[in-house]
């Protein structure tokens, strides 16, 4: 018990006792670091990324930073509490920011990402009205911009680039906090834009686009044969009209971007900028921590700066010295005697909590021993939903005090 208590003091008051020696993620040092201009919150779906991103943004603003937070699909009530009533890509001031002493310069703007609108805006900014409309009306563009796996990630990065530019030119923000799309895998955020970019820029698209530009460009027998097989197959499988739509789409897109891949790569490189930090958010369960592991390893490979792991929704144990076994034995004793039913229930409740905390700790330990240098901050599981600024403030406080 003695070692557990010691580690509880050094790493956590939230009950998520991490292995001794696990470095702490100092949230306030991160938020106060004026050299940091972008914080990206990543993680698999359902771990509370949006809440963590919004909490960090609010805390930074109340500590004097000028912050813009980009959220993706926040809970309705949380969005309303931040004044986000419309999904319109426009950052709006959040009312109710309470600056700490001497931090009056702080402010918070929030926006919700509209994936399709972001894509449409790119098209409109690169084309005259008529050609832009032709692209916007193309069925392939509509499918691509509204439903493809990967588009949301791409647009999130695109929007981040726009916000970063706006911040640099107007000085209206000195910190941008971004939430990332609820992908099945956290890695999608890094991979999807390039996948989409290299597809749009790839050989197949060039081949498909060729007839619309005049087949004369197709020289070389191999290419021609390959082309015939492909278009033949596609025509056979999906029909000629579809192929025509597709070719038109590719041709107009190609003319517009002259290198979608380059654009995707440039956006990607922004994530390696020295003023960017990543935070990986996970819940203490097997799936989420496995995703977090992949992501941490990937960031290291890509030389993208990881600040640390936020372990969210950790079960709190206010009385760790009362073991699960003792609590159950006590409850059994009361039940046998047929008295104090309420206390018996409370003891069983405590036993449940101890078991949950133990299983969570096992998961967290596995992660920490695999990644001993990753700094960790924990936030306790709250009994209710976070749906207002007070709730966000509470989460931010918990992360900072961890």
């Amino acid at each position: 018990m003695a070692t557990e208590k010691a580690s509880a003091r050094t790493t956590s008051t939230a009950g998520g006792r991490l292995p001794d020696g696990t470095p702490r993620l100092h949230i306030d040092s991160l938020l106060d670091d004026r050299a940091v201009h972008v914080i990206v919150c990543c993680g698999s779906g359902g771990v509370g990324k949006t809440t963590v991103a919004a909490s960090l943004a609010l805390r930074a603003a109340e500590r004097g930073r000028k912050v813009c937070v980009m959220t993706i699909d926040p809970a309705k009530r949380l969005a309303q509490s931040m004044g986000l009533t419309e999904l319109d890509n426009t950052p709006r001031a959040v009312n109710g920011v309470i600056p700490c002493d001497g931090a009056n310069s702080g402010r918070l703007d929030a926006m919700m990402l509209d994936m399709k609108r972001t894509f449409d805006e790119i098209v409109q900014s690169h084309q005259d009205t008529e050609r832009a409309q032709a692209i916007l009306d193309n069925p392939f563009y509509q499918a691509l911009s509204s439903s493809f796996a990967g588009t949301q990630e791409y647009m999130a990065m695109e929007k981040l680039g726009q916000l970063r530019n706006a911040a640099a030119t107007t000085g209206q923000w000195d910190l941008i906090v971004v939430d990332t799309p609820p992908s099945r895998s956290a890695l999608d955020f890094l991979d999807a834009p390039q996948r989409l970019g290299s597809f749009l820029d790839g050989r197949l698209m060039r081949l498909l686009a060729a007839p619309a530009r005049g087949a004369g460009k197709l020289t070389g027998k191999i290419v021609t044969v390959g082309f015939t097989v492909v278009t033949g197959t596609i025509t056979k499988v999906i029909g000629a009209q579809v192929l025509k739509d597709l070719q038109l789409f590719v041709a107009s897109f190609d003319a517009m971007f002259g290198g979608f891949r380059e654009r995707a790569e440039a956006t990607y490189r922004q994530l390696q900028a020295p003023d960017t930090r990543f935070i990986v958010v996970a819940a203490p369960d097997r799936d989420a921590l496995r995703e977090a592991s992949y992501f941490v390893e990937r960031l290291a490979t890509e030389q993208m700066p990881l600040s640390g792991l936020v372990l969210n929704r950790v079960a709190t144990v206010p009385l760790p010295q009362l073991t699960r076994e003792t609590a159950i034995a006590g409850a059994d004793r009361l039940d046998e005697a047929g008295e104090h039913a309420v206390v018996s229930g409370m003891l069983r409740l405590h036993a449940d909590k101890m078991q949950l905390a133990k299983s969570q700790r096992r998961m967290a330990e596995r992660f920490c021993s695999a990644h001993p240098s990753v700094a960790v901050a924990t936030a306790a599981a709250l009994p209710g939903d976070v749906h207002d600024l007070d709730g966000l403030r509470e989460v931010g406080q918990a992360l900072a005090n961890d």
Binding site: T233, R333, A337, V342, D385
Partner: protein, 346 residues
């Protein structure tokens, strides 16, 4: 569970092919990320196989969640047995790989296997399986329908039921409806026919889309939105499965007392003494801590109750599964399967 939600009538001893979905062959399991839909799909597969039936559990998102859950090596694109259900049933598993499904499809319908390598070199396979509007989803749903149809066509191995661990709530309608959309995009041609025959099964009473949720604001909202979308797309909505429910340890009056801060301290201290807790435990601190835990629990249960009322608006059968405090392992899956059966899922 004093205030359990019981929207369906209690049933007697379950006979084979009884339960709430006797006609359903394709069980599609969706849910928001983090709600445990893979776990529920696994438990449902075991439950459906119970008593000697053969069930295929399909995974379509390439994350090998089924293999991890059943503690077996990563699944290939091949149907193989992974679990035996109580009473002798078999659960088979298949991780559908879009690329393999595409090649299989091209071969089956067009005898085109040999052009596969040319297609791959040009990136056409990548195109079809990752980017092409919905083609990937056509292949994935198409594979499920192919498995459903085997029984009609007398082909082997035929299954009594297919359980699909499907994409999350936000994408499920689009995923299932993809064949009809591709059908609209392709006005004529073989893919149009294929799309129509897939939709004929998906829109029929042979399919049910079940939604897994937690009793929390976001997942419940997504579930209700998802059900509405399914209705609009004329897709058959199945049950709502509430997962990771807290086991209520206090009676409703005690819960009320806890949430209003009216728990009697002296009473609790007396109870703790009667429970014979270790002498070194500080009674005062222990009482504080247990009251805190009870208050949090009461708040949580109150939240769950308000969300349960919202879920009832959907007017679907609701099954409830508890949080497994020890985590999800094989024995937990079998327990969950049993609970699904007891509540009439099959």
């Amino acid at each position: 569970m004093s205030d359990r939600n019981k929207p369906h009538a209690p049933r007697g001893t379950p006979a084979p092919r009884s339960g709430d979905w006797p006609k359903v062959q394709l069980h599609v399991v969706s849910g928001k990320g983090g709600t445990g839909k893979t776990t529920v799909a696994g438990a449902l597969a075991i439950a459906l196989a119970t008593g000697g039936r053969r069930v295929l559990l399909m995974e379509v998102e390439g994350r090998q969640g089924i293999a991890q859950m059943f503690d077996v090596p990563p699944l290939p694109y091949e149907e193989r047995p992974i679990a035996i259900a109580p009473g002798g049933g078999d659960v088979y598993a298949l991780a559908v790989d879009p690329e393999a499904a595409l090649l299989e499809y091209l071969e089956m319908f067009y005898g085109m296997k040999r052009s596969a390598s040319a297609l791959r070199k040009l990136g056409a396979i990548d195109f079809a399986t990752t980017i092409a509007p919905g083609l990937r989803d056509v292949l994935l749903t198409g594979k499920a329908i192919e498995a459903v149809r085997r029984a009609d066509q007398g082909r082997h191995p035929a299954y009594d039921a297919i359980v699909m661990d499907a994409p999350p709530t936000g994408r499920i309608s689009r995923f299932l409806n993809v064949s009809s959309e591709v059908g609209n995009l392709a006005k004529v041609g073989p893919i149009k026919n294929q799309a129509e025959s897939v939709m004929a099964v998906i829109r029929s009473p042979r399919t049910a889309v079940h939604m897994v949720t937690l009793l929390e604001e976001m997942p419940v909202q997504e579930t209700l939105d998802g059900i509405e979308e399914l209705h609009e797309a004329k897709l058959p909505v199945g049950a709502v499965i509430v997962n990771m429910l807290r086991v209520p340890r206090l009676s409703p009056p005690s819960l009320e007392a806890a949430s209003e801060g009216r728990l009697d301290r002296a009473d609790i201290e007396a109870g703790l003494l009667a429970a014979g807790l270790p002498k070194n435990l500080n009674l005062d601190k222990a009482t504080d801590a247990l009251i805190d835990e009870a208050t949090d629990h009461a708040e949580r249960v109150t939240l769950e109750q308000s969300q349960r009322i919202r879920l009832n608006e959907a007017n679907r059968p609701i099954y409830e599964l508890p949080e497994m405090a020890g985590g999800i392992d094989l024995s937990a899956l079998y327990s969950l399967a049993k609970m699904l059966r007891q509540q009439g899922a099959c």
